[in-house]
C-alpha cells in the first residue's frame, strides 16, 4: 500500500506531529466490538409505550375498496388500528419535490401503488399482538395493471399512477451547455450507449426504528428515530405532523447500525408513528423488520439512460448528449428527484468536455419509492459514461486507458469549472493515473490477460476514472425547477455545517456536531482535530454526536450524507476550536506577559513560543472563564463554549443558465481490475482490483481505507449480486437475504488501495469525501472488465452468471427424440402453468355434479373450512392452503365459466390472505374412460403475489403443483367413495406430472 499523505495541522502536538493523519484507535470501537453499542432498540422506551405493526399491500397497484378492521380493533391488547383515512385526518401530505398537484402520504389512501405500501397500522401492547391484529384486518382490493419499467411507464397506454403526473412523468427538463448541436454536427464520430441501471440498496444491518410521543398539552412531538439527515427533512416532518418546527423535537440514538443514506428514508415512518402516538395518546414504538426493510424501505433509483458522444478521430470527446429517465418508484418523496440532480455539475466526469446536452425525465412506477443511497446518482451516471468510454476505445481501435487519458481535465486547470457548472476544486488526474498504473502493476496485469487468453480462458481488464463529489450544495435540487420557478421559490444554496466546542470548569474539552454518524468513527476524528488545535491528546476531548433538535445547533444541511463529514463537519469543528483557542491565547498571553502571537498550544500547556518554559497548564487557562471571568483581559469574551456555523461560498444557487456547482469537493478515483469468467458456471472472479483515491488531506488513514473497502464491498454487490427484482406484474421478488444477495467476506477480495493527496483549497482541513467513490467507480469497472473478457457490447448489472451464459453460449443441445423441447420463457413472466390428469372411479356425469356442489367442494378443496354458494356458478370459500409447515388462510372466490356439462368447465378464481394473493384460471375436461370411470384432464395458469412471492419465489411453482395435486387427489377419493390407491395417488400424480412437465417449461 502506498504512503498516505497528511497535511500538517496548524498547531503542534506533544511529539511535534499532529494527531490528524494518524490511524489512532477508534473511540467508538470498545463499545461496538463488545456488544455495548446503544442502538434505538436497545434504549429504554418511556413507560406506557405501545408497539406498532404495519399491514402492507400485497398488490403493486390496486384501489382499496374497503378496509374492515373491526376484528383487529377488538383483539386482545390492541389500542388502535389506523387506516389511511385516519392518518390523513391527523397529518398533511408530505412535500413533493416538483411542482405538481400530487399528494404523498406515509400510508396508502384510496389506492396502493407498490407492494409493501402501508395500508393500516395496528397499535398494541406488544409487537406480537400488533402483528396478530394486522392479520385480522380484511382489505378488499380492486387490482389495476402495474408498470415497473421506467420506459414502459412513459408509453401512451401505460397505467397511470397519479393523476397529477400525466403519463407518469413527474418532471421533464432539457438543458444545453456550450454548443452541443454544432459539436455533434462537426465531429467525425458519434458513439451511443443504452443503459438500464438496476435497483439496489445498501441494506444497513440495523433497520429503521421510531419511538414517537405526542404531548397533547403542548401539542408537541418528541421523536427518537435513527434518522440520518439531511435535517431539511425536519421541515417536511413537522409540516406533515401539523406542528411548527419548534414543536417537533427530533432526536437520534447514540449509535446507528449503518445507513449509507438509507436511513434518510425513515422519515415517512416518523410521520406515521407520530400520527399513531397522537391518535392513542401514548408513546408508540416501531422497529422495522427485515422483510419490511427489503420490501418497502427505500432503494436507489433504477435509471434508463441513452448517452451519446461526439468524438474526434484521436478519441477526444467533444460533446455529450444525456437522455436520462429516472425511476423514483411509486411516490416522489423528498428529497427526490435529488438522485438525478446530485451529479448535474459532474455529468462530464473527470473529463474536459465543453458541450453538453441533457434531457432529464423523472417517472413514477409501481415500485418502492427511492431515496438516499451510497453513491447517490454516481453509479447511474458513471455506468453510462465509463461504459461509453470503453465503447469509444473499441470503436476507434484504441486502448481504453488512452481514451481516458486523452480526455482528462488538465492538471494545471484547477479550480476547473465544468460545462454544467461544477467547480472542481483540486486534483492531478494524470499523476494519479501514472501512480496507479505503476504501483498497481498494470503491465503485469496485461500479461496475465494474454497468458489466460492463450490458454483459452475468459479474462478481461476494465478501467474507470471518476470524480467523486462530496458536500452537497443544498440548492442543487432546485435545478429541477425552471428559472422562473426558482425565482418564485427563493434561492437555496450552501451547506451549513455546525460544530460546538465547550470547555468545562476543569479544562475538559467537549465537542458536539450534528453529523449523525452510523459507525464511521466521527467521534475519533473530531477528537484528533480538536486535540491538535489545543495541543492536547485525543482522549482529552470528548465528542458527542447525538442530535436533539430542541437543544443542539443544527441546520437543514445537518446529518450524515453526501460524504460531508471530513470536508465540512470536521473542518467546522477545527474552526470552532480555533476561535476558542484564539481567546485562550489572549488570556494566556496576559498571564504570561507575552503577545498573543507568541502563544503556542502543546503538550497540555499554553506556552510562549520563544520561551517554552514560560507556560501555563491548558486546564488553568481553560477554566478561567468559569471561575474568574473578572480576570479575563478586556474584550476577550468568554472562552466556555463556541458554536460555529460554516458554509462554503463556492456553493451558490443554480444560475440562470442552469449551471450548478452541485458539490463543494471533488475527489478523484482511478480503478482498474482483471476478472476471469468461469467457462462452466459463468461466475465472475475478481483476479485483481486496484483503486487509486485522491480525497485531499487524509485525516485518519485507517478509516479512509475502511471507507474504501466498505464502498468497494457494496459496489461489488451491486456489480455481481444485488437487485431489487420485480416481476412484470409488480410483484416484489427479493424479500429476503436468500434472494437479495449481499457479498460476504468470502466473496469480497482485498482491493489494492493507492493514494494521492491534493488538498482541497475550499475546506478547512483540505479534506474531501471518500466514502462513496467506489460505489460509483467499481460497478462499471467490473462491467468493463467483463465486457472485455466476453467481447460484449452491452452488459447489464448485476452480472448474474445465467444471464452472462445466455449472452455467450450457442444453441442448446436438442432434447432426445420423444421429449418435448423447452418453451422459451419470457423474461419477467412468472405465471405458473401446468396441466395434468387423474382417473376417478365414477362416471363423468357424477363427477360433474360433484364439481358444482359446494358440499363436495368443501370436502375436496385442501383445507377448506366452508363454501358459500353465491350462485350456481359462483362460490366463496375459506381455505387453509399449505405445503410442509407453510400454511396460510385464504378467502377464495371461484366462478365457473364455459360450462359444457358433463364434458368441460373453466374455473376462474382468486384467493387472498395474510401471506399474499393468487389468481388462477383452469379448464377441467371430463371424458369416460371406458370402464365406467372418468378420465379427468386439467390445465391451469396461475399468478401468485404478495408476501409469499417476495420470500418464497423459488418454491411457488412446485407448491402450486402440490396443492393442485391435493385437490384432484381429494376429488378422486371423494368420488370413489374410498377410491383405490391404484386408481389415484398423490405420488403417482406427482410422478406423472414430473414426466409431463419435463421439458415443458
Amino acid at each position: 500500500m502506498a504512503q498516505v499523505a497528511a497535511r500538517p495541522a496548524s498547531s503542534v502536538d506533544m511529539e511535534g506531529r499532529p494527531w490528524v493523519g494518524r490511524s489512532i484507535e477508534r473511540v467508538e470501537d470498545a463499545a461496538l466490538l463488545t456488544g455495548r453499542g446503544r442502538f434505538i432498540d436497545d434504549l429504554g422506551s418511556p413507560p406506557g409505550t405501545l408497539h406498532a405493526a404495519i399491514l402492507r399491500s400485497p398488490h403493486a397497484h390496486a384501489d382499496i375498496v374497503s378496509i374492515d378492521a373491526e376484528a383487529a380493533r377488538r383483539a386482545p391488547g390492541v389500542a388502535a388500528v389506523l387506516t389511511g383515512e385516519q392518518v390523513k385526518a391527523l397529518t398533511s401530505s408530505l412535500v413533493v419535490g416538483v411542482k405538481a398537484p400530487v399528494e404523498c402520504w406515509p400510508i396508502a389512501t384510496e389506492r396502493v401503488r407498490y407492494v409493501g405500501e402501508p395500508v393500516a397500522v395496528a397499535v398494541a401492547s406488544d409487537r406480537a399482538r400488533a402483528e396478530d391484529a394486522i392479520e385480522l384486518i380484511h382489505v378488499e382490493y380492486r387490482p389495476h395493471a402495474a408498470v415497473v419499467d421506467p420506459l414502459a411507464a412513459l408509453a401512451a397506454d401505460a397505467p397511470v399512477l397519479h393523476d397529477g403526473f400525466p403519463g407518469n412523468l413527474a418532471s421533464d427538463r432539457s438543458f444545453s451547455y456550450g454548443d452541443p448541436a454544432q459539436a455533434f454536427a462537426d465531429a467525425p464520430h458519434r458513439f451511443s450507449i443504452d443503459i438500464h441501471y438496476p435497483r439496489n440498496s445498501c441494506t444497513p444491518i440495523e433497520t429503521y426504528g421510531v419511538i414517537a410521543s405526542h404531548d397533547a398539552a403542548e401539542d408537541a412531538f418528541d421523536i427518537l428515530a435513527n434518522f440520518q439527515g439531511p435535517f431539511s427533512i425536519h421541515t417536511v416532518i413537522s409540516r406533515a405532523l401539523k406542528v411548527p418546527g419548534n414543536r417537533l423535537r427530533l432526536r437520534t440514538p447514540p449509535d446507528s447500525g449503518g445507513s449509507f443514506g438509507v436511513k434518510q428514508g425513515v422519515f415517512p415512518y416518523i410521520v406515521l408513528i407520530g400520527a399513531a402516538s397522537r391518535a392513542v395518546g401514548r408513546p408508540v414504538k416501531w422497529i422495522e423488520d427485515r422483510l419490511e426493510h427489503l420490501t418497502a424501505s427505500v432503494s436507489a433509483t433504477n435509471r434508463s439512460t441513452t448517452l451519446s458522444a461526439a468524438v474526434a478521430a484521436d478519441g477526444k470527446i467533444l460533446a455529450l448528449d444525456w437522455d436520462q429517465v429516472e425511476d423514483c418508484g411509486a411516490h416522489l418523496r423528498a428529497p427526490e428527484p435529488a438522485t438525478l440532480y446530485r451529479m448535474h455539475g459532474n455529468l462530464t466526469g473527470a473529463y474536459d468536455i465543453r458541450h453538453v446536452k441533457v434531457r432529464n425525465r423523472v417517472v413514477v412506477t409501481n415500485k418502492t419509492p427511492t431515496g438516499l443511497n451510497r453513491g447517490f446518482g454516481g453509479p447511474q451516471v458513471y455506468f453510462a459514461l465509463e461504459r461509453l468510454v470503453q465503447r469509444i476505445a473499441i470503436g476507434l481501435s484504441r486502448d481504453p486507458l488512452d481514451v481516458i487519458k486523452r480526455n482528462l481535465v488538465p492538471a494545471d486547470a484547477f479550480p476547473y469549472r465544468t460545462a454544467t457548472g461544477a467547480l472542481l476544486d483540486s486534483g492531478n488526474y494524470q499523476e494519479a493515473i501514472a501512480k496507479a498504473v505503476d504501483h498497481g502493476k498494470l503491465a503485469e496485469l496485461r500479461e496475465r490477460r494474454e497468458e489466460a487468453r492463450a490458454q483459452g480462458r475468459l479474462y478481461g481488464i476494465g478501467f474507470t476514472a471518476v470524480v467523486e463529489p462530496s458536500v452537497s450544495n443544498m440548492g442543487y435540487i432546485t435545478t429541477v425547477l425552471t428559472v422562473a420557478e426558482r425565482r418564485k421559490a427563493g434561492p437555496k444554496n450552501g451547506a451549513q455545517a455546525t460544530a460546538t466546542v465547550a470547555l468545562d470548569p476543569v479544562g475538559g474539552v467537549t465537542v458536539h456536531v450534528a453529523s449523525v454518524p452510523q459507525g464511521q468513527g466521527h467521534r475519533t476524528v473530531l477528537s484528533q482535530v480538536v486535540a491538535d488545535v489545543f495541543g492536547l491528546k485525543p482522549q482529552d476531548v470528548r465528542v458527542n454526536t447525538e442530535i436533539d433538535t430542541a437543544k443542539d445547533a443544527w441546520s437543514i444541511a445537518s446529518g450524515n450524507y453526501a460524504s460531508r463529514f471530513a470536508a465540512a463537519v470536521a473542518g467546522t469543528a477545527k474552526l470552532a476550536a480555533e476561535r476558542i483557542a484564539a481567546r485562550l491565547a489572549r488570556i494566556a498571553a496576559s498571564q504570561l506577559n507575552v503577545e498573543p502571537v507568541d502563544i503556542v498550544f502543546a503538550s497540555g500547556f499554553v506556552a510562549s513560543k520563544h520561551n517554552p518554559e514560560n507556560r501555563i497548564a491548558f486546564s488553568r487557562v481553560a477554566a478561567l472563564s468559569h471561575w474568574s471571568p473578572g480576570s479575563l483581559p478586556d474584550d476577550t469574551g468568554q472562552a466556555i463554549r463556541e458554536t460555529l456555523f460554516w458554509t462554503p461560498p463556492e456553493l451558490t444557487a443554480p444560475d440562470d443558465e442552469d449551471r450548478i456547482n452541485s458539490s463543494l469537493c471533488h475527489g478523484f478515483i482511478f480503478d482498474f481490475c482483471g476478472v476471469e469468467i468461469d467457462r462452466t458456471t459463468f461466475e465472475t472472479r475478481i483476479d485483481r482490483y486496484v483503486t487509486m483515491h485522491d480525497c485531499g488531506t487524509i485525516l485518519h488513514p485507517g478509516m479512509v481505507n475502511g471507507q474504501i473497502r466498505g464502498g468497494f464491498a457494496q459496489a461489488l454487490g451491486a456489480a455481481l449480486y444485488e437487485e431489487y427484482a420485480y416481476a412484470e406484474d409488480g410483484s416484489f421478488l427479493t424479500g429476503t437475504f436468500a434472494d437479495y444477495l449481499l457479498p460476504t467476506t468470502a466473496e469480497v477480495p482485498e482491493p489494492q488501495i493507492i493514494h494521492l493527496a491534493t488538498p482541497s483549497p475550499f475546506t478547512p482541513l483540505g479534506a474531501k469525501g471518500v466514502g462513496e467513490g467506489n460505489s460509483m467507480s467499481t460497478p462499471v469497472c467490473i462491467a468493463n472488465a467483463v465486457a472485455d473478457a466476453l467481447g460484449l457490447a452491452d452488459v447489464t448489472l448485476p452480472l448474474v452468471p445465467a444471464r452472462l451464459a445466455d449472452l455467450v453460449r450457442g444453441p442448446e443441445p436438442e432434447p432426445p427424440a420423444g421429449q418435448l423441447k423447452a418453451a422459451p420463457a419470457r423474461a419477467g413472466d412468472r405465471r405458473l402453468r401446468g396441466d395434468g390428469s387423474a382417473s376417478v372411479n365414477r362416471a363423468p356425469e357424477h363427477v360433474w355434479t360433484m364439481l358444482l356442489d359446494p358440499g363436495t367442494l368443501q370436502a375436496v378443496i385442501p383445507g377448506c373450512q366452508r363454501v358459500d354458494r353465491v350462485s350456481d356458478t359462483h362460490f366463496r370459500a375459506e381455505v387453509t392452503l399449505g405445503i410442509g409447515p407453510v400454511t396460510g388462510r385464504y378467502r377464495a372466490d371461484v366462478q365457473l365459466f364455459d360450462l359444457d356439462p358433463p364434458h368441460a368447465v373453466t374455473l376462474r378464481g382468486s384467493a387472498e390472505g395474510a401471506l399474499g394473493f393468487g389468481n388462477a384460471e383452469g379448464r377441467i375436461m371430463l371424458e369416460p374412460d371406458g370402464k365406467g370411470g372418468t378420465r379427468l384432464r386439467y390445465g391451469y395458469d396461475a399468478a401468485i403475489g404478495g408476501k409469499i412471492a417476495s420470500i418464497g419465489g423459488r418454491l411457488l411453482d412446485g407448491a402450486a403443483r402440490v396443492i393442485i395435486g391435493q385437490f384432484f387427489a381429494a376429488l378422486a377419493r371423494e368420488a370413489g367413495g374410498g377410491a383405490s390407491a391404484s386408481a389415484f395417488s398423490l405420488p403417482a400424480l406427482l410422478g406423472w406430472l414430473a414426466r409431463l412437465f419435463g421439458g415443458r417449461r
Binding site: P801, P813, P815, P885, V886, L915, R954, R1000
Partner: protein, 271 residues
C-alpha cells in the same frame, strides 16, 4: 417478524413427542434445529399450535454404525455428523456434501433429519439420501415403519411422513469404498443450490443424482457410459428434470450445469 402464539413442549421422552404429534397432528411441528422452521415462524409462514423440541432427547442424539449401515438420530446436528471421525470412511459423500449445507453457524444448530423433514428441493441431505439409497425411520404412537428415500420425498417440501409421525432417524448404507463425487453451484457459498450433483459408483456403473432443479432430488442409474452415450443420457435427464427460471438462474443454465458437471462427475467416479 414475531411469531403467532404457540405452545412449546420440551419433550423429555420420545413417547411425549409421539403423544404431542398424535394429539395435535398437523398443528404440531417438531423443532429439530430450527434453521428453517424458526424463520418460518417469525415470518408467520408457519403457525403451528404446538412446537415440540426434541433436542434434549439423548436417545435421538446417536450416530451408529452397524452391519454396514450408519444410522443418525433425529437430534444429531449437522456439525456433529461432520465432526464424526468415521464419516469420511463410512459415508465419504456426506463428508463432501455437508460443508455445503448452509454455513458453519447454521450447521451447528441444524439437524440431518430436520433437513430431510423439510424436504427443500435444493437441500443437500435429501440429495445424498436419494443418491445413496438410504431409509427414513418413522415412528408414531401407532406404528414404526421405514421408507426408502424414493418413497419418502413426494414433492416440493412434501414428504410421506404422516402428521402423527416423527422422523426418528435416518440410515445410510455405508459406501464401502465405492467412489463418489459431489459438486454444487450456488450464487454464493451456502446459498440454495442452483444445481447440486452427485455421482456414486455402483456395481454395474453409476448412479447420478441432481438436486435444486426438480421438486425433489432425482437419480438415474446408468451402466458404464462415456462419450456420446453419456452425453445423451445426461441431456435426456437434464430435460426430464423440468428446470424452471427464477431470479438466480434460468432453466437452460440449470440444464447446462447438469450436462457439464454431470459429465465431469460421472467420469470422475468411473475412472
Amino acid at each position: 417478524m414475531k411469531p403467532a402464539a404457540f405452545d412449546y413442549l420440551r419433550a423429555e421422552s420420545v413417547d411425549e413427542v409421539l403423544e404431542g404429534l398424535s394429539n395435535e397432528g398437523g398443528n404440531a411441528r417438531v423443532l429439530a434445529g430450527g434453521q428453517s422452521l424458526m424463520a418460518m415462524l417469525n415470518m408467520r409462514l408457519a403457525k403451528p399450535k404446538l412446537l415440540i423440541d426434541i433436542m434434549r432427547l439423548k436417545e435421538l442424539n446417536r450416530i451408529e454404525e452397524q452391519a454396514g449401515v450408519v444410522t443418525i438420530g433425529a437430534s444429531v446436528r449437522q456439525a456433529a455428523l461432520l465432526a464424526w471421525p468415521e464419516l469420511a470412511r463410512t459415508l465419504p459423500l456426506l463428508a463432501l456434501a455437508l460443508p455445503w449445507v448452509g454455513h458453519v453457524q447454521t450447521r451447528s444448530r441444524g439437524t440431518i433429519c430436520g433437513s430431510l423433514a423439510h424436504a427443500d428441493p435444493s437441500a443437500e441431505m435429501p440429495l445424498a439420501l436419494i443418491a445413496l439409497g438410504g431409509q427414513v425411520h418413522l415412528r408414531s404412537a401407532r406404528r414404526r415403519r421405514r421408507l426408502a428415500a424414493s418413497e419418502f420425498f413426494l414433492g416440493m417440501m412434501a414428504t410421506a411422513r404422516a402428521e402423527d409421525e416423527l422422523i426418528e432417524a435416518v440410515s445410510f448404507p455405508a459406501q464401502g469404498g465405492s467412489r463418489c463425487a459431489f459438486r454444487e453451484v450456488a450464487r454464493r457459498h451456502g446459498d440454495f443450490a442452483i444445481v447440486a450433483c452427485v455421482a456414486v459408483a455402483t456395481p454395474n456403473g453409476v448412479r447420478f443424482a441432481v438436486g435444486g432443479v426438480a421438486d425433489i432430488p432425482m437419480a438415474r442409474d446408468w451402466p458404464r457410459l462415456d462419450g456420446s452415450a453419456l452425453d445423451d443420457a445426461l441431456n435426456g435427464f437434464a430435460y426430464e428434470l423440468g428446470a424452471r427460471n427464477d431470479v438466480h438462474a434460468t432453466a437452460r443454465y440449470r440444464r447446462d450445469l447438469v450436462r457439464i458437471i454431470g459429465r465431469d462427475l460421472v467420469r470422475e467416479v468411473l475412472q
